[in-house]
Amino acid sequence: MSYLLRRIGFYLFTAWAAITINFFIPRAIPGDPVQSMVNRAQGQIDSNAIHSLYVLFGMDTDQSIFSQYFEYLGQLLRGDLGLSFTFFPTPVSEVLGDSLPWTIALVGLTTIVSFVLGTGLGVLVGWRRGGWADLVLPVTTFLSSIPYFWLGLIAITLFAGDGGAFPSSGGYDPGVTPSFTWDFISSAVLHSVLPAVTILITSMSGWIMSMRNMMVTVSQEDYITVAHAKGLSERRVMVSYAARNALLPNVSGFAMSLGLIVGGTLLMEIVFSYPGVGYELFQALGAKDYPLMQGIFLVITLSVLVANLLADVAYLALDPRTRREG
């Protein structure tokens, strides 16, 4: 248990450091939210509006960056993430509330499916070394080296263009309202097929590779030979002896990738116009929407940390060697 306690202390420190960095670094960018807004409008916002925008965003007062920082920390402790500039005056928490479920549903599910499928395939490929299984590797290597946005755009052209079977953008049909109706769910699912498949294609090979390597390593352990010597069925040896042990290192990788769900999908969401956090972050970066950026970074930081904590716990649960009595 002390192990967990120490981890938690460590996580708290990391969280604080990350939050601090997330506060200061964006503010070092030249320019400010107002100018970005004017720039984005490319003439549609009058230069006379600049002053009123400064007033609107509360940026007309001279407040030292440190007092802002402590104010921000105070806000955070109260659970207040501030108001987004891009969507002024919508609270950051609301922006996140709108986008987070999409990301988590699509990417979360895809990550899990990718892990399960990739690991499963990796088990097979690692177990049946030589023969057809080895052909999987070059193919997956190639697929995983393709830049994601490129694959996504090609997929859109091929499958979502004229007469294509899939919609090219968005999270659901413009016509339907999010609710627990068949219409909405089917449309959401349909919209998620292409993004999901492209993510699967590029991310699965990582799991296949690492699982395969672990399988190969583990299948030369003595206890596997013993399991064969015991006359256990091939399946049992593969699953209960080899895969069960090979899985352990992959678990922490999986937790890591769960943590990256929120931050790692920027490109997918840009390419597929998916209404998730990644796209929001991209916008916030461009708009210098400090509160939104901080909010999203906070979510990312927390999810990575929580995922790591989960990985630690999972390791404790899965590997009896790390469990301690007493």
């Binding site: 925008l53 609107l56 969507f87 461009g286």
Partner: protein
């Protein structure tokens, strides 16, 4: 596909509108540019202006809307507005002069909402009349004032802080009310009790696409029927998909996009060089290749005033004088004024070869293309140009502080050329290179005559005075060329006539075609179901 098939089928009374602005948050505050209402444009069909004006025909008188009559005192320091009778808000409450006065008072009190920085003085309502008094002439701002959307006092006065209220249930006098809001799609439905003949479109569906590509795709497959988006090679990608119905119309308005030169940097402080550069640039190529031939219409007049919108304002001396490519002329001009050629390299009078760095943010692909073309053009007269694909934030700061040689940039926009000229040349905006916080005159143009003439135009009490002032400004523009105007800003849009007809176009320019301007409402009122 699923997404398109639903939208492709004609839906009864529904019009689908798209904007490439990404997911929205539930915010219909009409005064905030950051709201979904502004970004998608639906605030225009909920909140109505006092007067409907048309940027495409800036000299046309405005259409009475919530105001039936408005009278400016001679020096444009006072306006008396008569409010229309029988107008109700969508919650059933009558709209009165009180509401109008409240709206102006709100702008006066909250400078955060006073986006046009109008200097309001006294605001008084009596009967159906509202009187506004200003400390100085509002000639150049008159339409901006009259375009103010009217909000219901009984609701807004109860808000804790109207500047930070997302107005999730917008109540206005317009013919539509908000039905549902999702970050991706906003649906509005037609309401009963609208004060004039109701529009035929019973439901508006605003979809926010993440980027231009998604928006273009939606237009091309018919799932969006009306939009405002830049489409490269629009024929191949858009109109050819259904040439009969897919249309676009991008009329120019009184603002330009041009090559701003830093007039304090040698050798670009020399107006001769600026004029010669102007002569070398091939506007046709810029517009055709960079702006896809339509997005920003070409500016022909050497005064920089976009036509046809600004036609009436062009000084007689310059009427019909168009900028043309004249490399030989440019060279002659240069060599006649102390410039020399070393081989084919241009050398300035002080003996230094002329080079220029043209800079714009890397992500602005049309501007980048334009710059590539300009670079090519400038090499014709021996100027070696370099295109810098800058980082947007750094670029913004550089433009602000005058730390650049040449950038493509826009000007302000208005109902007279005043806004654009003031933006380019007003000496009162001048700040030395290195100092930021400027809102115009990025090129650091310092010319007292121009400054005076601009001020005279705004304050003049009669048309003759204004014309004289504007003529002088144009003369200075042509002589000094602080900005090389290339193309006009637009107020256009892409639309489909498959289900709805009656859109504005070249022949019938009753309104700009852009779905986010106040005229959107006017257009909706013009739309008829296709036969």
């Amino acid at each position: 596909g699923g997404g398109s098939s639903a939208a492709k089928t004609p839906s009864n009374g529904v019009l689908t509108i798209g904007m490439p602005n990404g997911p929205q948050t539930n915010n219909s505050n009409p005064f905030l540019e950051s709201s979904a209402g502004a970004s998608l444009g639906y605030r225009r069909v909920i909140f109505e202006p006092l007067v409907m004006t048309n940027v495409v025909k800036p000299t046309d008188p405005g259409k009475p809307w919530l105001a039936t009559k408005w009278e400016w005192s001679d020096n444009f320091k006072k306006v008396a507005i008569t409010i229309r009778d029988g107008v109700t808000f969508s919650d059933g409450q009558k709209m009165t002069a009180d509401d109008v006065a409240y709206t102006f008072q709100l702008l006066k009190d909250k400078s955060a909402l006073n986006i046009n920085s109008i200097p309001f003085g006294d605001i008084a309502a009596s009967g159906n009349q509202v009187t506004l008094i200003f400390p100085k002439s509002q000639y150049v701002n008159q339409n901006k004032i009259l375009n103010t959307p009217v909000v219901p006092k009984h609701i807004w006065s109860k808000m804790k802080d109207p500047t930070t209220d997302p107005v999730k249930n917008p109540v206005g006098t317009g013919p539509y009310t908000l039905k549902t809001f999702t970050p991706q799609t906003v649906t509005l439905v037609r309401r009963d009790g609208y004060w004039q003949a109701p529009p035929k479109v019973t439901e508006l569906r605003y979809t926010s696409y993440t980027d231009n590509n998604a928006q273009t795709t939606a237009l091309a497959n018919g799932s969006a029927e009306w939009s405002f988006v830049f489409i490269p090679n629009y024929k191949a990608v858009y109109t050819n998909k259904d040439p009969q119905h897919f249309k676009l119309w991008f009329p120019s308005v009184l603002a330009v996009h041009g090559l701003w030169l830093n007039t304090e940097r040698k050798p670009f402080d020399n107006p001769v060089l600026r004029r010669a550069m102007n002569m070398a640039i091939n506007r046709e190529d810029v517009v055709q290749q960079g702006e896809a031939g339509y997005f920003y219409p070409k500016v022909d007049s050497i005064t920089g005033i976009p036509t046809p919108a600004g036609e009436p304002y062009i000084a007689d001396a310059f009427k019909g004088k168009n900028a043309t490519v004249d490399v030989a002329g440019a060279k002659a001009l240069l060599t006649g004024n102390g410039f020399t050629y070393n081989g084919d390299k241009l050398v300035d009078p002080s003996g230094k070869p002329v080079t220029i760095t043209l800079s714009d943010p890397a992500g602005w692909s049309d501007y980048q293309t334009d710059l590539e073309i300009i670079k090519d053009n400038l090499s014709q007269i021996g100027i070696e140009a370099k295109v810098d694909k800058a980082n947007e934030d750094a670029w913004t700061t550089n433009v602000e502080t005058g730390n650049f040689q040449g950038v493509l940039h826009w000007t302000n926009n208005g109902y007279t050329p005043y806004d654009m000229y003031q933006n380019m040349m007003d000496g009162t905006l001048y700040k030395p290179v290195g100092t930021g916080g400027v809102s115009g005159n990025y090129g650091r143009f310092k010319n007292q005559q121009a400054t005076d003439a601009i001020a005279r135009y705004a304050d003049a009490t009669d048309d003759a005075g204004r014309k004289a002032a504007l003529d002088q400004v144009q003369q200075i523009m042509v002589d000094q060329m602080p900005v090389i105007p290339l193309m006009a800003a637009n107020a256009g849009g892409e639309y489909s006539t498959r289900h709805w007809v009656g859109w504005p176009d070249e022949q019938n320019p009753y309104a700009p075609a852009q779905p986010t301007l106040i005229n959107a409402l006017d257009i909706l009122l013009h739309l008829q179901p296709a036969a």
